[in-house]
């Protein structure tokens, strides 16, 4: 592992002194604070006078408020953190001629990729934990409820999943910076992939489901067809890391949710009464429900990392 430490150190110094990082951090902190503030205010108003329900602290993260919830925000915007941290990591060195120098020093070539990835992950951890701390602090001040041990654990697990999720995007962007020689190309490619997964997969999922099991006037009455349609739609949308992330974090952060499936063939009144009388999942049960999602998320991170490796190890490094 010679050289990894040196590279991590330099990369961290670079990240923390770059405008890019400062702007990104400021942006995310701002949005998080605004979101939490609005959610906190509305929670306080709604809960005024009535007995505080369990897990109210977690609602700070899941309640949508007038805009969106913090969890939704991270799911959508988190990838951008990873992408911005990595999209030019290798090809910038290549075009500056510093890659030749790095690669001709007595370090293993993988130390370059590893060092950059690790420094990115550390940056992501620091970013996400400070945001969660700030949000928790503000929430505490607004609703005046101290989180219980289980809630703290759930937030911690949420943090870990988020770090993996954003690291996946970091891995993708590093891969693109290896494959594409031009920085503009790798920036565009990462952006395109992000948009593809954000919007097109969910659209595509319903298109695919509709082709296999068309839902029309007659089949709408048939519960089997409806179920099948929903199943296909889900299977397709699980290609998207965003879906994986959304599913797993919503279970972890919301103990009353018991399944990652969104289709429930029940009327709203029935659902409501069921929710009221059933006990929330305990932490271990929640984790059990989402463990496949988490493993998949980690696996795709490693796969894209492995591809980076294979490509970079064989690549010719010429100072152009």
């Amino acid at each position: 592992m010679t050289g990894v430490g040196t590279i991590v150190r330099k990369e961290l110094e670079d990240h923390f002194s770059s405008y890019r990082f400062v702007i990104l951090f400021a942006l995310i902190t701002m949005v998080s604070l605004i979101t939490t503030y609005m959610v906190g205010i509305s929670l306080r108003d709604e809960l005024g006078g009535i007995a505080k329900p369990k897990f109210i602290f977690l609602m700070l993260f899941t309640s949508t408020g007038p805009l969106f919830s913090l969890v939704q925000f991270v799911a959508f915007f988190g990838p951008l953190i990873g992408l911005v941290l990595g999209f030019d990591s290798i090809n910038r060195e290549r075009s500056n001629g510093t890659l030749s120098k790095l690669a001709s020093q007595p370090i293993y070539r993988d130390a370059i990729v590893n060092g950059k990835f690790l420094a990115g992950v550390v940056t992501i951890i620091i970013m996400m934990s400070s945001i969660l701390l700030v949000v928790s602090g503000l929430g505490l001040a607004l609703i005046g409820v101290v989180p219980g041990i289980e809630e703290v654990w759930r937030i911690f697990i949420y943090l870990i999943i988020s770090v993996f999720y954003i690291s996946f995007w970091l891995g993708i962007s590093i891969l693109f910076s290896i494959v594409f020689r031009s920085i503009a190309t790798s920036a565009l490619a990462t952006l395109a992939l992000w948009i593809f997964f954000s919007f097109f997969i969910s659209m595509g999922a319903s298109v695919v489901a509709n082709t296999f099991v068309p839902i029309n006037q007659t089949s709408r009455e048939n519960p089997e067809a409806v179920m099948k349609h929903a199943k296909i739609q889900r299977a397709v949308s699980l290609i998207s890391p965003m879906q994986l992330y959304n599913d797993s974090t919503s279970i972890i952060i919301d103990p009353t949710r018991k399944t990652t499936r969104s289709l429930i063939l029940m009327g709203p009144i029935e659902q409501f009464s069921l929710k009221r009388f059933s006990r929330p999942l305990n932490l271990l049960q929640s984790i059990t429900v989402v463990i496949p999602h988490i493993i998949t998320l980690i696996a795709i991170t490693f796969i894209c990392f492995a591809i980076s490796y294979i490509v970079f190890m064989k690549q010719e490094i010429r100072s152009i």
Binding site: T2, G3, T6, I7, R9, K10, D14, E93, N96, G97, T98, L99, S100, K101, L102, A103, S104, Q105, P106, I107, Y108, R109, K314, E316, I317, R318, S319, I320
Partner: protein, 250 residues
């Protein structure tokens, strides 16, 4: 010089899309020697150097650098070789000292040792007064001298210099040439110097190899090459003449 070879290649070949850019190259460089590696643009000099330091893989043949295989024992080779590429790059948002310190760390030289070395090296190459300037603001000549400072920090047994005088003014060129000479004389570093600047190479090279279209078409001391091509006359031998003679034949 009658020493053992520190660089050896045997039928070393690199092809891109079935075209041999380096074609069955066999030569060696002896310890302590300055080897002038000559050839027009596109003749395969850089590609050869890349294969020797493991930045690209040979298609065929083998090479040994300080007794190691550059592909399979890349780190060992990189420990003994200092490589100055054609377009030497520095981190433009760091100053000269920081760039050198990073290089020292990559070579496992602790900061306590390197700080003194960095000062000495910068002084030696005449960059003492610019040590705190960002390297993004360095001129081409300053960058080349900073690259020499890197060599002084790393203290390798062998250096590969790819067109080190390219784009320099006469003053800058002669300074670099002097530095290369002193690396060889004072530290007994073996130098493999690729260039198309004949006059400069002639001044300092112990032996010369001329490469055209991926083939080494001539190899030897300047006198040997002159004898072979021009017949030894009483006029001063110039590498230009020798080179042109070879060039016309291809």
């Amino acid at each position: 010089m009658d020493q053992k070879p520190v660089i050896e290649t045997h039928e070393l070949t690199k092809s891109y899309l079935n075209h041999n850019v380096v074609d069955n190259l066999s030569f060696d460089v002896k310890e302590g020697e300055i080897f002038g590696f000559l050839g027009p643009n596109g003749s395969g000099k850089t590609t050869t150097l890349l294969m020797l330091i493991g930045l690209t893989e040979a298609t065929k043949g083998w090479a040994r650098v300080a007794g190691h295989d550059p592909t399979r024992e890349a780190t060992k080779v990189k420990r003994t070789v200092g490589y100055v590429p054609e377009n030497i790059g520095f981190y433009s948002d760091m100053n000269a000292k920081e760039n050198l310190q990073f290089l020292a760390r990559l070579n496992n030289i602790p900061d306590s040792v390197s700080s003194k070395k960095i000062k000495e090296a910068l002084e030696k190459v005449g960059l003492k007064d610019d040590a705190d300037k960002l390297t993004g603001a360095y001129s081409r000549g300053m960058r080349q001298r900073l690259a020499i400072a890197e060599i002084l920090i790393k203290e390798p047994k062998i250096v590969f210099l790819d067109e080190p005088t390219l784009g320099l003014d006469p003053d800058g060129t002669s300074r670099i040439i002097q530095h290369i000479q002193s690396l060889s004389r004072e530290k007994n570093i073996t130098v493999l110097l690729s260039s198309h600047d004949l006059k400069q190479v002639q001044k300092i090279s112990d032996r010369i190899g001329i490469m055209i279209n991926g083939k080494m078409i001539a190899l030897g001391t300047l006198e040997q090459l002159a004898e072979e091509k021009l017949g030894v006359g009483d006029r001063e031998i110039s590498l230009d003449d020798v080179y042109m003679k070879y060039f016309q034949e291809v």
